[in-house]
């Protein structure tokens, strides 16, 4: 997979990397949460860029668990999301996870699903990059990607991305990101109420 950092990312990465931000609490909307140093609002990756290879490519794997089929298990350390299948199998997706200080564990359920979610950069990002729109309607090029699955009442979600090169990396503010093809695939396989187990590491 080719790594692409465009003008936007190059221009902002230095300051953005140094300026971590976080919006926990009741005032943060879900759309505000996941944004990081290399996001490029409006950037539309090519099909080649969106094609993952190797371990992060979507694939069925051996997976032994006591969780019921249909459960989502997130392996933060391994950068994988597993969708449990019958007979000790799982669909495995490559993901991007929260960067240091923004990782978390817990048990949640998918509380809402949204196609082409909107994006609202958080105030800290507006402060650093005041030229950004304060709202960007969902669609191709939106940093939130093609689909979003909200996790309980938290501000976190599983969502797509227009930055496929961030898969396999700890880059977000606590959300879990997949390439758009993968998040769409997952979206079609899960329903509201799906159990989501977020772990630091998964023992196979």
């Amino acid at each position: 997979m080719r790594v692409r950092l465009g003008y936007f990312a190059r221009a902002t990465a230095a300051t953005a990397l140094a300026a971590a931000y976080f919006l926990p609490g009741v005032f943060a909307t879900a759309q505000q949460v996941d944004m990081n140093a290399v996001d490029q609002p409006g950037y539309q990756p090519t099909p080649d860029e969106e094609q993952l290879s190797g371990a992060y490519e979507r694939q069925e794997v051996f997976f032994r668990t006591t969780e019921a089929p249909g459960t989502i298990i997130i392996d933060t350390k391994g950068r994988f999301l597993y969708l449990v299948q019958p007979n000790n199998r799982a669909l495995r997706y490559g993901i991007g996870v929260g960067r240091d200080g923004f990782q978390w564990s817990g048990l949640q359920k998918v509380s809402r699903k949204q196609e082409w979610p909107d994006w609202r950069p958080p105030p800290e990002m507006i402060e650093r990059q005041p030229y950004l729109p304060r709202f960007m309607a969902g669609g191709p090029g939106n940093p939130m990607g093609a689909r979003a699955m909200y996790l309980g009442q938290t501000v976190y979600r599983i969502h797509g991305t227009n930055q496929p090169q961030t898969i396999g990396h700890a880059v977000s503010s606590g959300c879990f990101r997949l390439v758009n093809a993968d998040v769409s695939d997952l979206y079609d396989r899960v329903s509201v109420g799906t159990k989501v187990v977020i772990k630091q590491a998964v023992a196979l």
Binding site: Y7, F8, A11, T12, Q40, P41, G42, Y43, Q44, D118, P123, I126, R128, Q129, P130, Y131, P133, R134, F135, M136, A137, G138, G139, P140, G141, N142
Partner: protein
């Protein structure tokens, strides 16, 4: 006969050259560039800023722009009569001016020719709103169509 033909050909050639020379030397009419239909004073103020890529999203984007007035995009008057705004991906303010293009489009950008890469087209302007789209295709693709709605405007 041969001489007559040759002279005729020469005469036609000379005539053609004259026409050609006339075509080449005739200066193209200068485009009539009207003054911008927008004044910089119209842009000064606090604005809710939102963007969309699909035209079907425009109505709700306009509403969202109004909802963003807690994080307004502030446009102030510049020292040279322009307005202080941000260029794409530039966190420092620049003084931008309104420019009329030969195509009747009004552009907003650094002083100079209209319609350059740093410019944005400005449209749908009234007292309480305006719309811009970047001339640069990369910027236009990334940022889409940007809607500015005046904060505190009358309903």
């Amino acid at each position: 006969m041969g001489i007559a033909l040759r002279n005729g050909a020469l005469a036609l050639g000379a005539l053609g050259t004259a026409f050609l020379a006339g075509c080449v030397s005739e200066p193209a009419p200068a485009p009539v560039v009207a003054a911008p239909s927008v004044t910089s004073d119209q842009l000064v103020g606090k604005w809710g800023l939102a963007a969309y890529h699909r035209d079907s999203d425009r109505p709700r984007t306009v509403k969202e722009a109004l909802a963003q007035c807690n994080k307004p995009y502030v446009i102030r008057k510049g020292p040279n009569g322009g307005v202080m705004m941000y260029l794409a991906d530039q966190p420092q303010l620049s003084e931008l001016v309104l420019k009329a293009g030969p195509d009747g489009v009004t552009y907003l950008g650094p002083p100079g020719a209209a319609g350059t890469a740093d410019d944005r087209q400005i449209s749908n302007i009234d007292a309480d709103s305006f719309t811009t789209i970047w001339v640069d295709p990369d910027n236009a693709g990334r940022y889409g169509t940007m809607v500015y709605e005046r904060c505190g405007k009358r309903a």
